[in-house]
């Protein structure tokens, strides 16, 4: 993983509000603020992990970046070949052509593949659709890609149902990567797979990253997997980023109370290891009706008066470590401890 020092993606103040409609007239009665002012950047060759509670807006963020959704607000800027491409400024045709640079890999290897298409058709389709290749060239490129993800050419005429979950996920990966995208949003790419297949697919994604010069936004709820693949990790809570830092720094030295809870909840594979787990009381805030002040305050063990009224800004606490908490520089929080239980 050679992370280069050039920026590939810049996201500024991204917002995605879904209207809540009621009644026959479909009157809009409010908005689900699924993503509410997210700013982040990813360097070429880097993997940014994105974690957070279910429903906090991770998938929506990914979908906005690959432009499945047209965001309500904010800018998405790609830096490709010394050029700056602001997705907001592209005409429809230009956007269509630009899409091949950004792809998404989905969680569910079962429903994301059309059961009536063969592997050749599935992996070749994006090339045809974008007029990138056809005929023999298409077959060659598909064969090359299928090999790269660890499947065989004999698999090309087969249909998805005759593959295992891990193999189907490989087909999904081949389909996303065959167009040689620059950025890949991996949305829970291994969550549906069992342990041993999961590690194969994680290794594959890492190998392909260096072979194909890919940049990843990696969404997952398994912290140990996220740490394995990510250079940096961003923690999201109800539509907002609450902490961003280098992965090891974030895990060992979390500065946001929510990150601390998240790390303590990771189930550890040591039966004797009695974890001091911090429990998280209450429900996550409703993105249609977020609390004032810090979004995390109703559940935060360190809450003070100011948290109920003032929104903490995401600020840089130490180089590269950004936190949105009023007390980030005072709290002594507990992270993971790599020195503790020795594995056998």
């Amino acid at each position: 993983m050679a992370v280069e020092n050039e920026l590939l993606l810049e996201v500024n103040d991204l917002k995605m509000y879904f209207p809540i409609q009621k009644g026959l007239m479909k009157r809009t009665t409010g908005y689900v603020k699924a993503v509410d002012g997210v700013s982040l950047s990813i360097k070429r060759g880097e993997t940014l992990g994105l974690v957070g509670e279910s429903g906090c807006g991770k998938t929506t963020t990914g979908r906005c970046i690959v432009r499945v959704y047209r965001p309500t607000g904010g800018e998405i800027i790609f830096h490709i070949d010394d050029e700056e491409v602001n997705l907001n400024r592209l005409e429809r045709q230009e956007l269509k052509a630009f899409r091949r640079n950004m792809q998404m890999i989905f969680q569910d290897p079962f429903s994301s593949l059309n059961p009536r298409m063969t592997v050749l058709e599935l992996v070749g389709e994006p090339l045809l659709a974008h007029g990138i290749a056809r005929g023999q060239e298409l077959e060659d490129r598909v064969a090359e890609m299928v090999n790269a993800v660890g499947l065989r050419v004999e698999h090309l005429p087969r249909y998805p149902h005759s593959f295992s979950g891990g193999q189907r996920q490989r087909i999904g990966i081949a389909r996303a990567l065959v167009q040689r995208p620059k950025l890949v949003v991996c949305d829970e790419p291994v969550s549906a797979l069992d342990v041993s297949v999961q590690s194969q697919v994680v290794n594959l994604l890492q190998d392909l990253q260096s072979e194909l010069d890919l940049t990843y936004l990696f969404v997952a709820h398994d912290m140990s997997v996220v740490r394995q693949v990510s250079n940096r990790i961003a923690v999201m809570y109800v539509g907002k980023l609450v902490e961003v830092a280098e992965s090891e720094e974030l895990l060992r030295n979390p500065k946001h109370p929510y990150s601390e809870t998240l790390l303590s909840a990771v189930p550890r594979p040591y039966p004797h290891h009695a974890m001091q787990r911090l429990s998280l009381e209450g429900e996550p805030a409703d993105p249609a009706n977020a609390p004032p002040g810090c979004v995390f305050h109703p559940r935060c063990r360190y809450m003070e008066e100011i948290c109920q009224t003032d929104v903490p800004a995401l600020t840089e606490l130490s180089p590269g470590h950004h936190v949105a908490c009023h007390f980030a520089d005072q709290l002594q929080l507990q992270g993971i401890d790599s020195a503790s239980p020795s594995g056998s």
Partner: protein, 350 residues
């Protein structure tokens, strides 16, 4: 204690007779679940975990599925009584007896949350229905209160409102918890939980695991817990059975399994997970290869085509038995059992 064992499974075989051939989804599985204890079941996708669970409650679709062999004994009596156990494998899957057991004495949380709740009725109505069906002493007027109480227990906020919600109105995590509430509503002796927390994020998962532990201490409920997540197993299980292609390949107390895994497959599984508390590895150590197609199971040991310790001439000639290697620790592997014994068994037509 005479009847410490609640459920005793002996040589269970559940096969699917399909056009392409026979899938031996469960092929000679034996284990016991003790009162108040948790048996964890792990193993690769397709190895037969759900089919084992469904066989207990007689929910295997037939055709194509059939329990072709074995006994599933439910020991109802407590320590002193000498009540005969019921063999669930012998019951009519549509009969009154198994229906009175399902959801009452043994209840199940399904892998797929939508299978438990019908879409047309509110969560509350479905929980109330289950309570009224199995608990004759509960008055209809009290059932609603009980349903709310159950929802509250699994950490659902605003339970008195959520009770009137339809399944599609809940987030995945809440639906999963509502399902667990329904499964627990009749205080079962045994809860079968099939990947109950896979769809949940870690904070809610932690909450559910704590709830199950608390209920176990309070009511002595036994749990059969199926999951891919070894961290979860380490936390909840007292004993663990590791399955591979329809058979148990290793079984032991949870501490022993994590400290001293013996079967090459178990070792591979434990090796392949990233440990958040340790130094990061450059690459994960994966088990090579894929689970064989159910119609092309290798000769001999089912794991032989992926095994790093494969011994030609032995592992590919006979199926190792599940032999005891230490107190309560059993392993199905020729590194630990005598080849000659198994060869004679094969010759005997097994």
């Amino acid at each position: 204690m005479a009847h410490d064992t609640l459920l005793e499974i002996r040589d269970l075989m559940t096969h699917f007779h399909l056009q392409e051939g026979i899938v031996r989804a469960v092929d000679g599985v034996s284990f016991e679940i003790r009162r108040g204890r948790t048996l964890g079941i792990i193993g690769e996708s397709g190895c037969g975990k759900s089919v084992t669970a469904n066989s207990i409650l007689r929910l295997v679709p037939s055709p194509p599925g059939n329990i072709v062999n074995g006994r599933i004994l439910l020991h109802r009596g407590d320590d002193s009584s000498d009540q005969e156990p019921v063999d669930l494998a012998r019951l009519d899957p549509r009969g009154a007896e198994i229906r009175s057991i399902r959801g009452a004495e043994i209840s199940m949380v399904f892998q797929e949350p939508m299978t438990s709740f019908g879409p047309m009725h509110t969560i509350g109505n479905q929980i109330m229905e289950s309570i009224l069906l199995h608990q004759s002493d509960v008055a209809a007027s009290d059932a609603r209160e009980l349903a709310i109480e159950n929802l509250r227990r699994v950490g659902i906020p605003r339970a008195e409102q959520i009770v009137d919600a339809y399944p599609h109105q809940l987030s995945g995590g809440m639906r999963q918890r509502a399902m667990i509430a329904m499964a627990l509503s009749c205080s079962p002796r045994l809860l079968i939980a099939d990947e109950p927390t896979t769809a949940l994020d870690v904070t809610i998962q932690a909450q559910i695991l704590e709830l199950l532990t608390a209920l176990q201490e309070e009511f002595g409920m036994a749990v059969m817990f199926i999951t891919h997540n070894l961290g979860v197993i380490a936390e909840v299980a007292d004993e663990v059975a590791v399955m591979y292609l329809g058979r148990i390949v290793e079984q032991s107390d949870v501490n022993e399994l994590f400290d001293n895994p013996q079967h090459p497959y178990t070792q591979g599984l434990l090796n392949s997970i990233p440990h958040i508390d340790e130094e990061k590895l450059p690459r994960l150590r994966a088990i090579e290869g894929v689970v064989p197609d159910p119609y092309e199971i290798p000769r001999g040991c089912a794991f032989s085509d992926r095994c790093p310790s494969f011994m030609p001439g032995t592992c590919d000639r006979a199926m190792p038995g599940l032999d005891e290697t230490g107190p309560g620790h059993r392993v199905r592997c020729f590194l630990f059992s005598e080849f000659e014994d198994e060869l004679t068994e094969v010759a005997d037509g097994r």
